[in-house]
């Protein structure tokens, strides 16, 4: 069952996967950061990323913005999984432990609640040994978007 108490069927699962894959395929930032969409379903997703040397900040750790970007992408795939275009209204991130260059990070997104126009999603970013890098909570907002085919 999803967070609105609706059953997850083969149809809704397939629709969620398709919506996430389409969004991922057109998301150039995700590609540039080497993110991979591992799986998606109604209100959930899983995205991975290798921390590259060009993602390090001045301390030699993965830049917080890159960790946020990974979590934010998982958030996006989970929130658009119901077929309605959504954008992030806002998000909060708590950094638990620094990630190092060479580490493989995984962001797992789970919908907590969804209403008519807004939703709340919790994302956890972990490394391979399952220790936590960051906790992220995002609020989505449904929109009527006409994506620009060729932005200026």
């Amino acid at each position: 069952m999803d967070t609105q108490g609706l059953p997850v069927t083969e149809t809704t699962q397939k629709a969620a996967e398709d919506a996430a894959q389409r969004f991922y395929a057109s998301d150039r930032a995700c590609q540039a950061l080497g993110m991979k969409l591992v799986e998606a379903g109604p209100g959930r997703s899983c995205v991975t990323m290798l921390v590259r040397a060009d993602m390090a900040n001045g301390h030699g750790f993965c830049h917080g913005g890159v960790i946020f970007a990974l979590a934010d992408s998982a958030f996006a795939f989970a929130s658009i999984s119901h077929g309605q275009p959504t954008v992030a209204a806002g998000a909060m991130i708590d950094f638990i432990s620094p990630a190092r260059v060479g580490e493989h990070l995984t962001a797992t997104a789970q919908e907590q609640w969804r209403g008519a126009r807004t939703g709340l999603y919790d994302i956890v970013v972990t490394r391979s040994d399952h220790t936590v890098v960051a906790y992220f909570r995002g609020r989505s907002h449904a929109v009527n978007l006409t994506p620009k085919a060729s932005p200026a």
Copy 2:
């Protein structure tokens, strides 16, 4: 005067600029994202970035993670300006309006409060016409870091 009521002198201004410049020079993620450190002072900084095509998300707008990364960098430069190494403990971002490919964004960071080990910083991300893209609030934590010269 800074947020601890101390006067900003030529010395503290110079030290803040030097600390920010050193951190910026060693921050590979900032370089890769094309960020420029425009200015820095005790508890403040200004960073700019051009939204490139490879920063767009599936809606064709600048990926929220990239906007966060810009604000987070301004936050970092402002918080390390007092000479003590700091890391981000957490942050909250509110997205106000989407940024488009080709737009020049500016993140302006201002310290609101600083204690012995923690600090609070407000960052505003604007575009060229001064309209707001996002509001960001970050909490810093002072650390004893030995940056890894050659991270694994």
Copy 3:
């Protein structure tokens, strides 16, 4: 000028004061906690409260929920000042220093941004010597409410 670039006139100032006073007069929680509405204007307000003995938590300091309630009230008065009913969608608070029983606290709210349906407000809670107790940031959402005259 307010955050939408509109001039603050005697009319909008008077309307904001009236809206805040009406809301305050019907807000039983504010009364029960001894809050006083000191002033209000378009997108801003100021509310004070004495920390009573029955507001102390187990550490003997003012309960964080009571400090939040003070900031949240200032937020409400500022956000309803434009004549449109609003509710809090969410808020974040950073506690800077504990408040003690007997201290007079002041919450000052300032609108940062306002769109068609949502707004962002920053509230600072200080004590008499102007030192900061907490920083609060709230997001409002405009609603069509029919307040219940006699809630169940």
Copy 4:
């Protein structure tokens, strides 16, 4: 097992209950707001409250500050359950649906992560039919407090 991978034994369970009960007994704000500590364990707690008429805001719904106070109390009982004094460093709340006078609210706190000095806790506030009123996330900070026996 708790969030640090330690087993929950009769001893740690008893210690957590005792710590929460002691804190609750000395928390005058909790008493004044009619909160009841239903249960507590290592890193978790459950607190209930009836929404009284004197907790209503100007819309006739439960004041957001009172809902926050309930969640914040559950947060406090969960975070002090390990025997170390802690305070709230900050918190974020998302209001999902308004609570009405006469409703019984329950706040359930669960530790997500705990380090040497800080911890992260998720609290959900629900009404009797299990629908959600608010989601709360709090960061705790361990302190060395000498509670004032007779605060000024």
